[in-house]
């Protein structure tokens, strides 16, 4: 519980801190430091246990099915990092109070800063790799927001985007790596993974895992070739840079190396990939740092270089090197945080960070200058400061790398060279800024010492540098020991933290680096001239250009696919379906299966021929819309006959009545649409469509033939056996609809209702002038309501209604039911509208169809719900036999009530659709009469 609390406290703080924004900068700084201080004090009592070599793991289950748990651990390594994150975090909070100007959005700043602190604590204290990954991604996201804190600046936005793209991409690689580790080990818990170190290293996937995990670590820790995002992240406010780029964000990558050191390290692949990346980064960063005129730019590249050093140390595969790496993490965090803060103070007081302008500040701010100089000396590796100690260890370890032959000289050489560069850029930072003549064109002149308390965080860190430098064993020894034990996950070899180990080779290297670096600085003009011969690459421009290229590429791709033409989409969809279906159809082999063909009888053959002819002609004559429609109606009729022929009376009845309604509907629509389709597609295109159509038709023919001629089992036995037994009905189709699959039917009538209401809504506000003729020179007939039709239609209505009532009631046992009866009623009513006109009919039959639809759906739903009242599942039906005098015995089933619901919905939906369409002309007539 304690550990989870430590991690989540800053997040709570992030929620609360912005509330203090109104109360001023001091109030919010105090409020923000409270969670950090509480977290820090919660960690202290645990130190005793840790020093004794215990590891604290606290697990709460979260998503056990995914192997994700809220599992936190505290060992030496996580404690070391947690202390850095919290202590430097508190110092940053104090510092930012003076750095930020009164008008700025301090609530957002402190909220994000605390969230970032929490996310970092989460990374270092997670005992579950998946959990760690969640926090890892959080730091990427929050750092994006922090870097772009001044989001009115384009550079800040671009720098933030670049950081997010690089670290986010690395995070994805890491996710893959972590998932693979989980796959190999079978758990994401660190303890299990540590125990399975050999399994992971021996796995065939090891190389993949290593590459993916290193991608994550190297992008986060700005290792070559991913180093370019870090200098551009310097667009962030200086407190953010000081925090992210000294103690936290970039250290997450090296933390990962340390955390997984017992699992992944010790192999040749690890050695080559990690140490060479580190070596290149170390040298490159140190070299470029020398040429940066921007103070923060110099510090940024120095950070890159130092991260390279730490990476190189981890890559060496020796225990002592790993210890030196952990040690340098601490030292770099302290001196770099203080240097960033000093740079921020100078920026704050002079208005610029350009070292060509800032000169001779010693006269103006001797206090700040002293602090910065001590920190810079530590960065250069001057004795009696902490930077010197870890660098000496590094030099010593560089001599131990066993490369074959003459290559053995390479690591010490590079180490010394990088050391010399470090001395040179540190000398430049000190000399250029505080001495070297007078300031030139400072925006703020004369510069003053900053407010007293702004220097306190710097002072504390500088004191730490000195303390560690002079009394290493006393000040940092136990913590380092404990962290080393956790990193190595085993016994810690003897190592001595002494100021001077005697006169030996590493000392000589330090000596060479120091004086070589000073010499380099005095001869800097030659280096500058040399460097100026190379065109400097602006990574941001390259990155932006790459982003633009990718965006253009995808836009081009999308435009190619998605040009806004429904016609094109339809084609793509159909062709895709055909391509997908092609392989299975080819695989069928002979289409006629073992069940063989049944003989063809004449009526069926003739009917089929008519159907095929009409279907093809409907397509061929599609430009003559009315003919096409008439042919369509013949097709529909033939389909219903086919149903009748092959033992489906219910389907035949349904199809027949739907056919009538559909054709009436399409006729009504055609009244308003052009009656003739212009020929507008190119010949080539028509041939292509024909080909697609033939492929579809041919494919369906083959598939149908294959299905019909292969013997197959049906699951319908159940329905045949239980229709009477369980549902009390003889008409199995109807029983399936209203009973066994009643829930489906309920959904279906709901869709029907929605479609009808949608049509009603679409046509409600529409005003339309009916065309004067059919578009081909013919005018409409004046005889809108022929007398014969009128006279026959009226007496037909009660007869039709009686038939539909009969069909509805008998549906359970004989062909019929709600759907068919509803459609028959619909057809009968439509006939009245057609024969007598919409006004005449509505005067005599003032029915509103929306309530009828609602009533129908509700009836069906409530019938279903009724069974719940009796303790049965939704839509369980019951039936019983009753007898009445005169009528005799008859059967009643609750499913019948359900069917009445279906009936009402079908009638309502059909009528609403057609009447909405019919009303269009009515409105116009009313309008023209009114005017």
């Amino acid at each position: 519980m304690t550990l989870a609390l430590v991690v989540f406290l800053p997040f709570f703080g992030a929620l609360l801190a912005p509330l203090f924004a109104q109360a001023g900068r001091t109030a919010i700084a105090i409020a923000s430091s409270v969670p950090a201080v509480v977290a820090l004090s919660a960690l202290f009592p645990l130190w005793g246990d840790l020093a004794a070599g215990h590891v604290l793991v606290q697990t709460h289950s979260w998503l056990p099915s995914l192997g994700l748990s809220l599992s936190f651990r505290l060992d030496g390594l996580s404690l070391l990092f947690a202390l850095l994150i919290l202590i430097i975090g508190i110092l940053i909070i104090i510092y930012a109070r003076y750095y930020l100007k009164p008008g700025e959005n301090i609530g957002k700043f402190y909220g994000l800063l605390l969230m970032f602190m929490g996310a970092m604590l989460g990374i270092v204290m997670s005992s579950n790799l998946l959990l760690m990954l969640v926090f890892w991604e959080l730091t990427s996201l929050i750092s994006f927001l922090l870097i772009s804190f001044w989001n009115h600046k384009q550079d800040a936005r671009r720098g933030a985007r670049m950081a997010l793209a690089v670290t986010g991409g690395g995070g994805l690689a890491l996710l893959a790596g972590v998932l693979l580790i989980g796959h190999i080990v079978g758990s994401f818990e660190l303890d299990a993974i540590f125990a399975a170190g050999d399994t992971v290293r021996d796995s065939t996937l090891y190389q993949v895992v290593l590459t993916l995990v290193l991608l994550g670590a190297f992008t986060k820790s700005a290792q070559f070739p991913f180093h370019f995002w870090l200098p551009h992240a310097m667009q962030a406010p200086t407190p953010v840079s000081a925090y992210l780029h000294s103690a936290t964000m970039v250290k997450a990558g090296v933390f990962l190396l340390a955390r997984l050191y017992p699992v992944l390290a010790g192999t040749d692949q690890w050695f080559y990939m990690v140490s060479f990346t580190g070596m290149v980064t170390l040298l490159l960063g140190a070299y470029i740092a020398l040429f940066k005129h921007d103070m923060k730019g110099l510090l940024a590249y120095s950070t890159v270089s130092n991260l390279g050093l730490i990476t190189l140390l981890f890559g060496m595969n020796t225990d002592l090197a790993a210890i030196a790496a952990v040690f340098h993490v601490i030292n770099h965090a302290t001196f770099k945080a203080s240097l960033f803060m000093a740079a921020g103070i100078i920026d704050h007081e002079t208005g610029t960070r350009d070292m060509r302008k800032i000169n001779g500040l010693w006269q103006f701010m001797p206090h700040t200058a002293t602090l910065a100089m001590v920190a810079a000396a530590s960065m250069a590796g001057v004795p009696l400061l902490n930077g010197f100690l870890s660098k000496e260890m590094f030099f010593a370890e560089s001599l131990e790398i066993a490369l074959p032959g003459v290559w053995a000289y390479l690591p010490p050489l590079i180490a010394t060279l990088a050391g010399a560069f470090a001395v040179a850029y540190s000398a430049r930072f000190v000399h250029d800024v505080f001495f070297n003549g007078k300031p030139i064109d400072l925006p703020i002149y004369p510069p003053n010492e900053p407010p007293r308390y702004m220097k306190i965080p710097v002072e504390i860190l500088v004191v730490a540098c000195v303390m560690v430098g002079i009394f290493p064993t006393f000040s940092i020894g136990p913590l380092l020991n404990s962290a080393a034990a956790a990193t190595l996950a085993g016994p810690v070899p003897d190592f001595k933290l002494a100021i001077i180990h005697g006169l030996n080779l590493p000392l000589l290297m330090s000596f060479l680096a120091f004086f070589g670096g000073l010499l380099m600085y005095t001869q800097r003009q030659k280096f500058f001239d040399f460097h100026a011969r190379f065109r400097e690459i602006d990574e941001k421009a390259v990155f932006e250009a790459a982003v633009v290229r990718i965006v253009n590429l995808s836009r081009h791709f999308i435009r190619g696919l998605e040009n806004g033409s429904l016609q094109r989409y339809g084609l793509l969809l159909l062709v895709t379906a055909e391509v997908v279906a092609l392989w299975p159809i080819l695989n069928l082999g002979a289409s006629v299966g073992s069940a063989g063909l049944s003989p063809i009888d004449v009526p069926t053959a003739v009917g089929g021929l008519i159907l095929i002819l009409c279907a093809v002609m409907a397509a061929v004559m599609h430009r003559e819309r009315l003919y096409s429609l008439l042919l369509l109606s013949v097709v529909g009729l033939m389909v219903s006959l086919t149903f009748a022929r092959f033992s489906a009376p219910d389907l035949a009845l349904t199809q027949l009545s739907v056919e009538v309604v559909t054709i009436v509907l399409l006729m009504l629509a055609l009244y308003y649409l052009p009656s003739w389709t212009p020929l507008e597609t190119r010949r080539r295109r028509r041939w292509r469509d024909l080909l697609v159509a033939l492929a579809a038709g041919g494919g369906m023919t083959l598939i149908t033939l294959a299905i019909l001629t292969h013997p197959g089992d049906s699951i319908s036995r159940f329905y045949v056996d239980n229709s009477k037994l369980l549902a009390g009905g003889n008409n199995i189709v109807n029983v399936i609809l209203v009973d066994f699959r009643g829930f489906d039917t309920l959904g279906e009538i709901t869709v029907l209702a929605i479609a009808a209401l949608g049509i009603f809504a679409m046509l409600r506000q529409v005003r339309l002038t009916p065309p004067p003729g059919d578009g081909q020179g013919n005018t409409w007939t004046r005889d809108a309501h022929p007398t014969m039709l009128k006279e026959i239609a009226r007496p037909l209505l009660p007869l039709a209604l009686m038939v539909s009532a009969y069909i509805l009631l008998r549906g359970h046992n004989l062909p019929g039911g709600g759907f068919i009866a509803g459609l028959i009623t619909g057809v009968a009513l439509i006939l009245q509208y057609i024969a007598n006109g919409i006004e005449w009919t509505q005067q005599r039959m003032p029915v509103r169809y929306q309530p009828m639809i609602a009533l129908g759906v509700l009836t069906a739903a409530l019938t279903g719900a009724g069974s719940i009242a009796y303790g049965y599942p939704f839509l369980t039906s019951s039936f019983g036999h009753f007898s009445l005098p005169l009528i005799g015995e008859f059967e009643l089933a609750s499913a019948m009530v359900f069917d009445i619901g279906v009936y009402l919905t079908v009638v309502g939906a059909t009528m609403l659709t057609l009447v909405s369409l019919g009303h269009l002309s009515l409105k116009i007539n009313a309008d023209t009469e009114g005017t």
Partner: protein
């Protein structure tokens, strides 16, 4: 018999697909209707083609498969609802755009391609 039904389904599908690919709304609606006839017949046919075997208990000795029939029955009604919706949508598009092209307007990028001749 199987061949006849297979050819019927094939020609319904082919005609439907060809019409669905047309540029104007009304042929597309007709095409969709043809296509849904084809699909309904296909689903129905998966229950095998038996004559005089209607799935009504007590009426015959042998019953055809009732399940595809139940599926197709609702499919017919839903198909009607869909046709109605689409045709009204087409009508509405015609009213709003004064054009019955499926893409909303006649001159799309397709017909603007160089070398395109309107016949």
């Amino acid at each position: 018999m199987e061949i006849v039904i297979a050819l019927v389904i094939g020609s319904l599908t082919g005609s439907g697909v060809y019409l669905v690919l047309r540029a104007r709304t009304f042929p597309v609606v007709v095409g969709l209707t043809l296509l849904s006839y084809g699909v309904n017949l296909f689903l129905f046919a998966t229950g095998r083609l038996l004559t005089g075997a209607q799935p009504i208990l007590g009426s015959t000795d042998q019953y055809t498969d009732p399940l595809p029939q139940a599926l197709v029955l609702t499919a017919i009604v839903i198909g009607f609802a869909m046709t109605a919706f689409v045709v009204v949508l087409a009508l509405r598009a015609q009213i709003d755009n004064s054009d019955d092209h499926v893409d909303g307007k006649t001159n799309t990028s397709e017909s603007q391609e160089p070398g395109d001749e309107h016949s």
